[in-house]
């Protein structure tokens, strides 16, 4: 099976270093045991070494170990990969259900483009890889706004794996291409793929969902009451912050279309359990905004049923989740709001609360991306990328680690041999 090198210059450098070692062995530094002379003190201090080129290298075994280790290190850094036989082309289709009006139709279109042997990456609350022919996957009814970055990363990784197996790979994106589909990381991620990406348009999401009035059920001295009073409101469906125990009427309100936010003042929401020790992770990430404050984290999500994570602590663990309930949704928030202080009316916290009381499924911006960003997504290059044209950063050499291990063993043997001598 033929090999190819992802970074051939490292191999050249390794061979050059090995050659330098061979030359060094042939340059016989006159370090042969100096002859004793008791009157050495009267010898003027001149250069204490002189060199001469030998015809044969000295210490053949040491030379082999040193030169071999350097050459192997160079070869390992050059990342040799096997070049398998060329297989059939595989297309990876990204189904951007978050950026399209009809998630089911978007996934179906992606399956159609990928073909039976292709792959589909569904950009839902995350990037999910499915086989195009996998009938077991059902598209979500609605998805939270999500950029294409995660789906592109997943697609490119899958493309690299397919490329290493000899398949030419093409990538397509099926999306309505709303403005939210491109974030600040998308350009960097897109640049990893050396070929053109086919852009397939489907209807974008419907018009932005508007906020409704935010009300709160809780004590009069609840700090969130002041927060709720400061939140913007519109003509959309209402949102209710429940600071007390959950009741059937709350479920009924959610089923009727409201966004009911269970944000208990004491205790933890139903999907969370109390942590053994309260820590101060110190910040919440919500809707692309990080708010840093002295929050005490006393709950951890215990029920992983695929609920949409609305907010995360800065270490990535969920802080708030949302579940659809008929026309509306139920949210559970485990961010403890201090009773004392003005945190609840600070602008940062208001922004957090605003995101947590927004429309079910999240507010989305359906404005299409501009031409420049669309061109960026499409890119340039071949439509099908093979191993030879793939960026070396996409591929991993399975031989690099074993080769480095061999080099390490050679260097250890060299050290042992040198010390014995």
């Amino acid at each position: 099976m033929p090999f190819t090198l992802l970074h051939p210059w490292f191999a050249v450098a390794g061979l050059a270093a090995a050659g330098a070692v061979i030359i060094a062995h042939m340059i016989w530094a006159r370090t042969r045991a100096p002859a004793p002379l008791p009157t050495t003190r009267f010898v003027p201090r001149l250069q204490e070494r002189s060199a001469a080129l030998e015809r044969r290298p000295r210490d053949i075994l040491l030379l082999l170990l040193r030169a071999g280790a350097l050459a192997v290190i160079g070869l390992a850094l050059a990342a040799p990969v096997t070049a398998p036989r060329v297989g059939p082309m595989v297309r990876i289709a990204v189904a951007d259900v978050a950026g399209s009006a009809d998630p089911g139709a978007t996934v179906a279109r992606a399956r159609e483009i990928a073909g039976a042997s292709g792959r589909v990456v569904v950009s839902d609350t995350g990037a999910v890889l499915i086989d195009a022919g996998d009938a077991g996957y059902s598209a979500p009814a609605a998805a939270a706004p999500l950029s294409l970055s995660a789906a592109l990363v997943r697609s490119i990784r899958e493309a690299a794996a397919l490329g290493a197996r000899g398949h030419p790979v093409a990538i397509s994106i099926v999306s309505g291409f709303p403005r939210g589909a491109v974030d600040s990381a998308t350009g960097t991620v897109r640049a990893l793929w050396p070929g053109t990406i086919q852009l397939v348009d489907v209807p974008p999401p419907s018009s932005p969902v508007e906020r409704g009035v935010v009300s709160i059920r809780g004590n009069e001295d609840d700090p969130l009451r002041a927060t709720a009073a400061l939140l913007a409101s519109g003509s959309g469906r209402p949102a209710v912050i429940v600071r007390e125990a959950w009741t059937d009427s709350d479920s009924a309100a959610a089923a009727a279309g409201a966004a009911v936010v269970h944000w208990p003042r004491e205790g933890v929401p139903a999907s969370f359990v109390t942590r053994a020790a309260v820590d101060t992770v110190g910040g919440v990430w919500v809707d692309g905004y990080a708010f840093v404050a002295r929050f005490g984290r006393d709950a951890v999500l215990a029920v992983d049923d695929g609920a949409r994570v609305m907010a995360r602590w800065l270490d990535g663990s969920p802080a708030a989740v949302e579940r659809a309930l008929e026309e509306g949704c139920v949210r559970e928030v485990a961010v403890r709001v201090p009773d004392i202080g003005d945190l609840s009316i600070s602008p940062g916290f208001r922004r957090v609360a605003e995101a947590l009381t927004g429309p079910c499924g999240g507010a989305r911006d359906a404005t299409p991306v501009d031409g420049a960003r669309r061109a960026m997504l499409q890119g340039e290059g071949p439509s099908e990328v093979t191993l030879a044209t793939a960026s070396s950063s996409l591929l991993r050499s399975r031989l690099a680690a074993p080769l480095l291990l061999v080099a390490l063993l050679a260097l250890l043997a060299e050290t042992f041999l040198r010390r014995r001598r």
Binding site: T31, P34, L37, P38, T40, F42, V43
Partner: protein, 287 residues
């Protein structure tokens, strides 16, 4: 034991007289600083109350009507200690022909000469430790010294000055056989003090011919292995000049201290060196 027979035969008839009167009570071959009653007339001295009447020269008294004592020169022995440097630098070049071998031969030969003179002779080995063999006159002492010399091995660290002090405490004549590449200043200090106390000092400076004309290449001091240098054609001239200057300084320092200095090259006859050492006036002649 080394074969010292031919050498001892060569030096058998040599005499080694003291360079100046010796303090001593035992009868020997060297002029004593004391006046005695031997047959060798020295001088007359006026009689003083308390002098033994038996020593009055009655014939002179009869002629001059004055009482004089007839004084004669006493002769006494001169205890001799031979200090041999057993430093690592003496073991050059290794094997036969080394400075150490030369020092052994010189020590045995000088011991024999002193023994034949009737003097007690002892040995001090300046090796890793200072080993002393007190001066003796008994038979077989030269063989005993030869055996001690042959059994001793060179050491990296030596205290030659301490050995000189030990030798000076045992004998009035002190002979130091060394290449002087160690603590030469301290050695000269010890010999200077010995001379001030009325003793007689000799330095036999052993130099290998390989040190005078060393081979080119990397060299190092056997006592300081870190000091490695390269001697080539451009360096031999300065090397020889520096080495000669240093030897001249040693010789001058010895003469200034009243110590006899003899240069002994390993390519020259040992017996000839011994003759130069024991020759009268060696203190003035130098190397």
């Amino acid at each position: 034991m080394g074969d010292y027979g031919p050498l001892l035969e060569e030096v058998r008839r040599l005499r080694w007289r003291a360079s100046r009167p010796v303090r001593g009570a035992l009868p020997g071959a060297h002029p004593s600083s004391r006046r005695g009653t031997s047959a060798e007339f020295a001088e007359y001295r006026p009689y003083r109350q308390g002098d033994p009447l038996a020593r009055v020269d009655w014939k002179l008294f009869a002629r001059t009507d004055r009482a004089y004592l007839r004084l004669s020169t006493d002769r006494t022995v001169l205890p001799t200690s031979i200090v041999v440097d057993f430093s690592a630098s003496m073991d050059f070049p290794t094997g036969a022909g080394s400075k150490l071998e030369r020092a052994r031969q010189l020590a045995v030969a000088l011991s024999a000469v002193a023994y034949h003179e009737g003097d007690p002779v002892g040995l001090v080995l300046a090796g890793e430790r200072v080993a002393t063999f007190p001066p003796r006159t008994r038979g077989g002492v030269v063989q005993e010294i030869a055996r001690l010399l042959d059994s001793a091995r060179p050491a990296t660290v030596t205290a030659l000055a301490a050995a000189c002090d030990a030798g000076a405490r045992m004998a009035q004549r002190l002979v130091v056989v060394s290449d002087m590449l160690g603590d030469s200043d301290a050695v000269l200090g010890s010999l200077r003090a010995h001379h001030a106390r009325g003793g007689e000092g000799h330095v036999v400076h052993v130099v290998a011919v390989e040190e005078l004309n060393p081979a080119f290449g990397a060299v190092h001091d056997p006592e300081m292995r870190d000091d490695m240098r390269v001697l080539d054609a451009s360096g031999i001239g300065p090397y020889q000049a520096a080495f000669t200057d240093w030897r001249d300084q040693i010789a001058a320092s010895c003469r200034a201290a009243g110590v006899a200095y003899t240069l002994s090259r390993t390519d020259e006859s040992v017996a000839a060196d011994v003759r130069r050492i024991v020759a009268p006036g060696s203190l003035q002649a130098g190397g």
